[in-house]
């Protein structure tokens, strides 16, 4: 049985408008996904496509508008989430706003333990905090220091230590490396992979950098405008991208070899992402798609299996 099953998840945010004319941003509009125990599911898509919202709704940081989240056989609701808080955790994107500047690192990492009342004695708590810090490559000296004394990469390690403090099984990594520079990205990613092996963690890894996602993920989901358009094995996605949006995304990755780059035909998408307040009818990608046919405007494509373990939502996928 899979660890996490999300079905028909929707999250609409109210924006502007008055009592008679409510407008909503459809940040996530009907998503189904499953995550197996011990795997890493990468979630990619451009800014504003709702990938971060998916992660936050799973943890009930936002109340879902509709849909069902089942974690390890338990239906996640606002009441049952309380008992799941020590099994699911999150690492945020911005290492500068994810740590309280008025708390020492020891208190930051110890906070989940205090909230969950995990430790009976103060000594036990301190020991556990130190254990977490050592786990992510920090040491005793850092306990009494404040977050502003650390670099971005170190701060992200502190965030990871905090998420791990309650010994969760599942961690939502909400663009954990997007704010770091490339050399530090690799360090943090490797730490995450190492921790996954040691503690048998399951990740939902949200990112917009395809190279990073390929490195860490077992499977990858591609999102566009609140919808999942393609899910498949990580290797498969790069070799046989099926959805036109995925193809365009992959062709946008810069190639290190200039000769190869010259020969490759980049797919340049026309126009901007449509507004999520009023998404296009039928297929959401049709306004920018090269394969657009009249059927795309009328009928919304559903996710169907095109190859074993490879699902795609496009009318022209075989």
């Amino acid at each position: 049985m899979s660890l996490l099953t999300v079905s028909n998840l929707k999250k609409y945010f109210p924006v502007q408008g008055n009592m008679w004319n409510r407008k909503q941003v459809k940040a996530v509009d009907g998503i189904d996904l499953t995550i197996e125990r011990g795997e890493t599911l990468g979630l990619v898509g451009e800014s504003g496509c709702g990938k971060s919202t998916v992660g936050r709704v799973i943890l009930h940081l936002h109340e879902p508008t509709d849909g069902e989240i089942v974690y390890d056989g338990i239906n996640v609701t606002s009441s049952s989430i309380k008992n799941l808080r020590n099994r699911m955790q999150i690492v945020f994107q911005d290492p500068y706003s994810s740590l309280n500047p008025r708390m020492t690192v020891g208190d930051v990492v110890g906070e989940p333990l205090d909230i969950q009342n995990t430790c009976q004695t103060r000594a036990e708590r301190d020991e556990r905090v130190l254990e977490q810090l050592l786990l992510v490559g920090l040491n005793t000296d850092h306990l009494t220091r404040y977050p502003h004394e650390f670099s971005g990469g170190q701060r992200q390690r502190i965030s990871i230590a905090r998420a791990l403090a309650v010994k969760p099984e599942f961690i939502v990594c909400d663009e954990p490396v997007s704010a770091l520079d490339v050399s530090i990205q690799a360090q943090v990613i490797n730490t995450l992979i190492e921790l996954q092996d040691r503690l048998s963690l399951t990740y939902l890894f949200i990112a917009h950098n395809l190279a990073v996602v390929r490195h860490i993920s077992d499977r990858i989901g591609v999102m566009y405008l609140g919808k999942l358009v393609e899910v498949c094995e990580a290797k498969d996605l790069y070799l046989h991208p099926c959805h036109p949006y995925t193809q365009a995304l992959l062709s946008a990755i810069p190639l290190p070899d200039p000769k190869a780059a010259k020969g490759s035909n980049r797919i340049l998408l026309q126009g901007d992402v449509p507004s999520p307040i009023d998404p296009p009818s039928g297929c959401r990608f049709r306004t920018r798609c090269q394969k657009m046919k009249p059927v795309c405007a009328e009928e919304e494509p559903v996710l169907k299996e095109v190859a074993p373990g490879h699902i795609c939502a496009c009318h022209f996928c075989e």
């Binding site: 936050r56 943890l59 940081l61 309380k82 808080r85 020590n86 699911m88 955790q89 999150i90 945020f92 994107q93 911005d94 706003s97 994810s98 740590l99 309280n100 500047p101 008025r102 708390m103 930051v108 906070e111 989940p112 909230i115 969950q116 000296d141 009494t144 220091r145 404040y146 004394e149 965030s159 905090r162 309650v166």
Partner: protein, 334 residues
């Protein structure tokens, strides 16, 4: 981390000699490396603010002035040979002299000691009102900002209603209505006017504080560490007291600092129009108003209390400015 070449020179046994031994070029042991690895001394928010504050000469001068005025007000009366209600009949309206540095008033009371007592009352009112404002304003503002949505809307509209009530009118009404019941409880110690100033502050003056705190809370609430705390299962009270208020402390302190001179000013104003503390107790305001009648003949009676009020209010305002620059550099008005 130190490079090995540099270490070599540090360990040379015979200075000036170019001969090297194996000892000079060995690699550093782990302990030695750790010794060289010194992190910058931890600089907390408070230390940092303290450093910035000390750089501001005007604010430091204001702080020293306040300390001196406080000593003058609270320690001074103990050292003075006179008490504030002691009448020296033969010395009425005496000008400043060695015996009475601030002169004496119509009843021959020593003005120096009366100014001390007056300053004592003014300072107490300022500080007590600031404490009241902080407690009520911070809790109200934090709850309003944290809950957001409809709760915030209702709480803010209520606050706007309070804001429109004329404050002096409320104080006068309170004073008249509270005179009877409170006069019995606090007979002799605190006048009903002081109590009514406290009550008025508790009722009305936290509005500004609540607004400032709410604004700051709205800002801090969006920070990811608050989301992280919620993901850990933190309750609202924990988020407010551990995350939101500590990160608003700069705004709170600064607003409180500006509240003190305001309270002092209002007390002085009320005393001046005759609604202040009752005789023989004196506040700086009542001393000034008493001196108005004989201003042309005895200007020193007005001069000293008026100067003290100005000094206290100026010093608190400058201190507030300095604190704002030190605690909350973003609020700096330039």
């Amino acid at each position: 981390m130190e490079k090995p070449e540099k270490k070599k020179f540090m360990n040379v046994a015979r200075p000036g000699s170019l001969q090297l031994t194996a000892e000079d070029v060995r690699t550093a042991t782990k302990e030695e490396k750790e010794q060289l690895f010194i992190m910058r001394e931890t600089l907390t928010y408070w230390k940092d603010a303290y450093r910035r504050f000390l750089k501001n000469k005007i604010a430091v001068a204001a702080l020293i002035t306040i300390v001196l005025v406080a000593l003058f007000a609270f320690v001074g009366p103990m050292l003075s040979p006179y008490t504030y209600d002691q009448q020296i009949r033969e010395n009425r309206y005496s000008p400043p002299s060695w015996e009475h540095p601030f002169g004496t008033d119509v009843h021959g009371r020593d003005m120096l000691v009366r100014c001390m007592v007056g300053a004592q009352i003014s300072l107490s009112i300022g500080v007590c009102c600031a404490v009241l404002v902080v407690v009520i304003g911070v809790i109200y503002g934090a709850i309003s900002g944290y809950c957001g949505g409809k709760v915030d809307y209702v709480m803010m509209r209520y606050l706007e209603v309070l804001y429109t009530i004329p404050d002096v009118l409320v104080i006068i009404l309170l004073q008249i209505s509270l005179k009877e019941p409170l006069g019995k409880i606090f007979a002799g110690t605190l006048g009903s006017s002081m109590i009514s100033i406290f009550v008025a502050f508790a009722l009305l003056y936290w509005v500004n504080m609540a607004r400032m705190v709410r604004g700051q809370v709205l800002l801090v609430k969006e920070m990811e560490y608050v989301s992280a705390a919620r993901a850990m299962g933190a309750k609202g009270s924990r988020i407010i007291f551990r995350h939101l208020i500590p990160n608003s402390i700069g705004v709170i302190l600064v607003t409180a600092m500006f509240q003190i001179p305001m309270a002092i000013f209002i007390e002085a104003f009320l005393s001046y129009i005759g609604l202040g503390v009752s005789a023989p107790l004196a506040s700086l305001g009542s001393l000034s108003s008493g001196a108005i009648g004989s201003f042309r003949s005895y200007p020193h009676l007005l001069l000293f209390p008026a100067m003290l009020i100005s000094l206290i209010i100026l010093a608190f305002n400058l201190l507030g400015d300095g604190l704002r620059d030190a605690l909350d550099p973003r609020l700096r008005s330039e």
